[in-house]
């Protein structure tokens, strides 16, 4: 598995696995009193995100916290402990015909708490949004080792500050998430996905067409041919430098109409000139979404960048990577095309300058020392304000010291 921050740097941290939330509070208070850190530990698959730890301390495992506290099925909400792996959560929901419509990588091990801390997502975020759209209540241990509650268990609630948002994407630097309440959805009746190939020249036009399509896809992905091959998907792809994957999930009749409509729309482009292949329907779209979701965390390439662009600039940026790429190797790049997220997998750092809107998702420690992990955002006054917020809510720098802001 990927170990962007070297394994050695984590091996020195003892793991504690408290049975109770109260016992975890004691661990936090103890760490605070001796100036050490507490590193929340869920599935352990996303330690490569962010900077290396900046203090001695302990890995605090949430593995004992997997209880379902409350699942009022007909209210379509569920309250679970933060150590529950996503796959297990989805199983529980599936038994009632429901789901949390967020793609989370390595869902067998990734915990809900970990998914929130890293704000994980995947292809279907285009249709369903991200975790922030589904978390309606939270409990966490503060720097004082006290359990704090925000939100509630109803789908609509504006009492008090939104402490849920405070923790999503915070990389565990503001507290240890102990329990989460989610609003969930009915599972869609049908799902389908299609793939077709496209030349460099027509990529921009194709993306514009999908954007203005009469259909409502849940996912619109673009992959370089090299990326498709590297992922070893169990389906053959059309022969073209770029591949488009579009997914639909809805009532069966609605999905059928969308497949036919998109086919017509792309067919019309096809007739206007060369560079497009026929649309093929893919079997087992769920397996493909899983592979695309996991890939940034499991690809064998040592450097993975997450590039954030406006969706309208997507084609131009993808082509730029292809043009600048080493001619001996094809560029490994895939993207949530209409969301504006590009994943760029690299064998080596190379001499090309990284884009300022790129986040270094995964990289060897020595490369991380050479450039800001979070890109140009680190130079903004907003970033400074975030550091103030961290100091206000965790003045002793107990939670995941160093991981978000480096060595402060």
């Amino acid at each position: 598995m990927a170990e962007g921050n070297s394994t050695a740097s984590w091996n020195v941290y003892p793991v504690v696995t408290p049975e109770s939330v109260a016992a975890a509070g004691d661990v936090i208070r103890h760490a605070r009193s001796c100036g050490e850190g507490v590193f929340p530990h869920g599935g352990g698959h996303h330690r490569h995100v962010g900077y290396p730890p900046a203090k001695p301390g302990v890995l605090l495992s949430t593995q004992h916290w997997q209880q379902v506290a409350d699942y009022p099925v007909r209210d379509m909400t569920i309250t679970v402990q933060a150590g529950l792996p996503l796959a297990r959560l989805q199983q529980i929901l599936a038994s009632e015909g429901q789901w949390l419509p967020v793609d989370v990588p390595l869902a067998d091990q990734t915990t809900l708490g970990g998914a929130l801390a890293v704000n994980l997502s995947g292809p279907r975020r285009y249709g369903y949004g991200t975790l922030r759209d589904y978390v309606i209540g939270i409990r966490f241990l503060s720097d004082e080792g006290v359990e704090i509650q925000g939100g509630g268990r109803v789908v609509k609630n504006v009492a008090g500050y939104d402490l849920m948002k405070l923790h999503i994407g915070a990389l565990g630097t503001l507290g240890l998430i102990t329990q989460v309440t989610l609003k969930v959805r009915p599972r869609p009746e049908a799902s389908a996905a299609v793939v077709w190939g496209c030349s460099e020249q027509r990529l921009s036009e194709v993306l514009d067409t999908v954007h203005s399509s009469r259909t409502r896809p849940v996912a619109v992905e673009v992959l370089s041919r090299a990326a498709w091959q590297a992922m070893e998907l169990a389906v053959s792809a059309p022969s073209a430098p770029w591949l488009l994957l579009v997914g639909f999930e809805e009532k069966a009749s609605t999905v059928r109409w969308q497949l036919a409509t998109l086919r017509d729309e792309i067919q019309r482009l096809h007739q206007q000139g060369p560079g497009l292949t026929d649309i093929m329907e893919l079997a087992e779209p769920a397996a493909i979404w899983t592979r695309l979701t996991d890939w940034p965390d499991v690809s064998p390439w040592p450097i993975v960048e997450k590039v954030r662009v406006r969706p309208s600039q997507m084609a131009q940026r993808l082509l730029q990577y292809a043009a600048n790429g080493d001619t001996d190797r094809q560029t490994l790049v895939h993207a949530h095309a209409l969301t504006g997220i590009i994943w760029w997998h690299r064998a080596e750092a190379g001499t090309d300058h990284p884009e300022p809107d790129s986040i270094l998702w995964r990289a060897p420690a020595e490369y991380k020392r050479q450039r800001p992990v979070w890109g140009r955002d680190e130079a903004t006054s907003t970033w400074s304000f975030m550091q103030e917020l961290k100091r206000a809510l965790d003045p002793h720098n107990v939670f995941n010291p160093g991981r978000l802001f480096g060595n402060l």
């Binding site: 379509m76 609509k156 609630n157 504006v158 008090g160 969706p311």
Partner: protein, 501 residues
């Protein structure tokens, strides 16, 4: 607040705030920043800004200023800091919870002149607006593109995007589309010390903390939002809008629960009870059945393909729960009239013959709707009050409207006691005391019932990170240590008369 209101109302005398004329230095500084035309100082002018839709709490601001740019807001808050006076933002003042009451006086920053739509970018699915843009203006501006801004509070003809951001507003269509925070991509915030930070923006997944998500719904206590990036949503291709007519409230609420339980995600499920139907029918002549105990507006939207089968399923569920009749909006005009009747329902309450009314905003898990509705009926009987209901049933977000005569102190007392009991019951059933109106000053007393002292202490720490001196929107959202925040600074006068949700 509610207890304070009882005692004042019973005492019967409302006092004016102490300062009759604003401090000269403050006025001069404000005039220098925005020009004399953009400053209100006369007593009568300032009186307009002493409260919002929650008219139980009133405090007159010392001065009202109308900035036209972020730079002017910065200069205003810096001057307030130097002169040590509080300030707060105000949009259209449609808050029903006293969110716009200038507790402790000071400077009221009225954002209604920052009303430009700065950018519409359909390809990247966002727009940039100033905080004073009225909600419906944005949706109107988007019509030619086939897009809209999804959150549609019933007050959308008046309320501003900035106000929506402050309160994390909802509306009838939140059931499918979510509330304000789900549609805000970023904000520019003027911190109370005058620094400006840009949070989020048109590009997704900003690294670090989701400041945008924390600022939305903070009721103006973190700073002044001076610019907003909003998500644009493509218009649905088609709608099916049904009206279920029921002879009992239980049948209506059970239908709602069954529709959700069947795995359907309707765009809206809105309920009106018998009393509300009378008022709305008198005003709009829609043809609502006057003898029904409840009607439910049931709407599905999306792609045309498959939509009819979904509507048919909803109709079948309603009939299985003894709907007397299920009507269908056959034209866009019929649908528009139905929604007009729903969204302007509050404006028709005057027809019921009560001089005043007070709107509540509780939430229960949606399966508990039958229980809370029975409780409301029983509470109305217990306190001999007129109560009518029009609300977002699909979300479990109730809006009981308590009707009374504000000239009768005993009625006022009963209204406040009944409100309190209904909201306490919402908490007991696992819900919340506010789904979309906010805590403001109205519901400060309930915060300790929903949150522990540790929770509230943590929220104060969060606020202090943004607003260390509590100079920005003091006395809102969080009670002070004593339990009832700065209650002595709010002059209680008459109970509320108007509302729109």
């Amino acid at each position: 607040m509610i207890t304070a209101a009882v005692s004042t109302a019973a005492g019967g005398i409302a006092k004016e705030p102490a300062s009759a004329s604003p401090p000269e230095e403050l006025v001069r500084r404000m005039q220098e920043i925005v020009g004399p035309d953009n400053v209100l100082t006369a007593l009568a002018d300032r009186a307009v800004y002493e409260c919002d839709g929650f008219t139980l709490a009133k405090t007159r601001p010392d001065v009202v200023v109308f900035p036209r740019s972020t730079d002017q807001i910065v200069a205003i808050v810096r001057a307030c800091r130097e002169l040590n006076v509080p300030f707060l933002p105000r949009g259209a003042g449609t808050s029903l919870a006293g969110g716009c009451v200038p507790v402790g006086g000071g400077v009221l920053i009225a954002l209604s002149r920052m009303k430009r739509i700065l950018e519409i970018n359909v390809r990247d699915r966002y727009a940039v607006v100033e905080p004073g843009v009225v909600n419906v203006w944005l949706t109107n501006a988007l019509k030619p593109y086939g897009y809209h801004y999804a959150p549609d509070p019933s007050s959308q003809g008046a309320c501003t995007i900035g106000g929506n951001v402050a309160t994390n507003s909802g509306g009838p269509h939140t059931l499918k589309y979510g509330v304000t925070v789900n549609h805000i991509l970023g904000v520019e915030l003027v911190l109370p010390d005058g620094r400006v930070i840009t949070c989020g923006g048109p590009v997704e997944d900003t690294p670090g903390y989701d400041l945008t998500g924390v600022i939305v719904g903070s009721e103006g206590t973190f700073g002044i939002v001076s610019k907003v990036w909003v998500r644009l949503t493509p218009n649905p291709q088609a709608y099916r809008t049904l009206l279920g007519v029921f002879d009992s409230i239980d049948d209506a609420t059970n239908t709602i629960s069954a529709i959700i339980g069947a795995g359907i995600v309707p765009a809206a499920l809105e309920m009106l009870d018998r009393t509300m139907i009378q008022a709305v029918e008198a005003a709009f002549h829609f043809g609502f059945p006057l003898d029904a105990e409840a009607v439910v507006i049931m709407e599905v939207d999306g792609l045309e393909a498959g939509l009819q089968e979904e509507a048919d399923r909803i109709e079948a569920i309603a009939r299985a729960h003894r709907a007397r009749e299920v009507r269908k909006a056959r034209t866009e005009a019929e649908r528009a009239l139905l929604w007009k009747a729903r969204k302007q329902a509050f404006g028709t309450i005057g027809r019921l013959g009560y001089p005043s009314y007070c709107t509540q905003d509780g939430v229960v898990p949606r399966t508990r709707l039958p229980e809370i509705m029975r409780f409301i009926v029983a509470t109305a009987r217990k306190y001999q009050l007129g109560i009518c209901n029009v609300f977002h049933a699909g979300d479990g977000n109730i809006h009981p409207i308590l009707m009374f005569d504000e000239r009768d102190p005993d009625q006022v007392r009963r209204v406040l006691a009944a409100s309190h009991e209904i909201l306490a019951e919402c908490i007991r059933l696992g819900g919340s005391v506010t789904g979309e109106h906010g805590i403001g000053v109205e519901k400060l007393d309930f915060m300790p019932l929903m949150f522990s002292q540790d929770d509230l202490h943590y929220m104060v720490r969060l606020r202090s990170a943004f607003n260390p001196d509590n100079r920005c929107s003091p006395g809102k959202m969080l009670p002070t240590a004593g339990g009832c925040a700065e209650g002595h600074q709010v002059v209680q006068t008459h109970p509320g008369r108007r509302a729109a949700v």
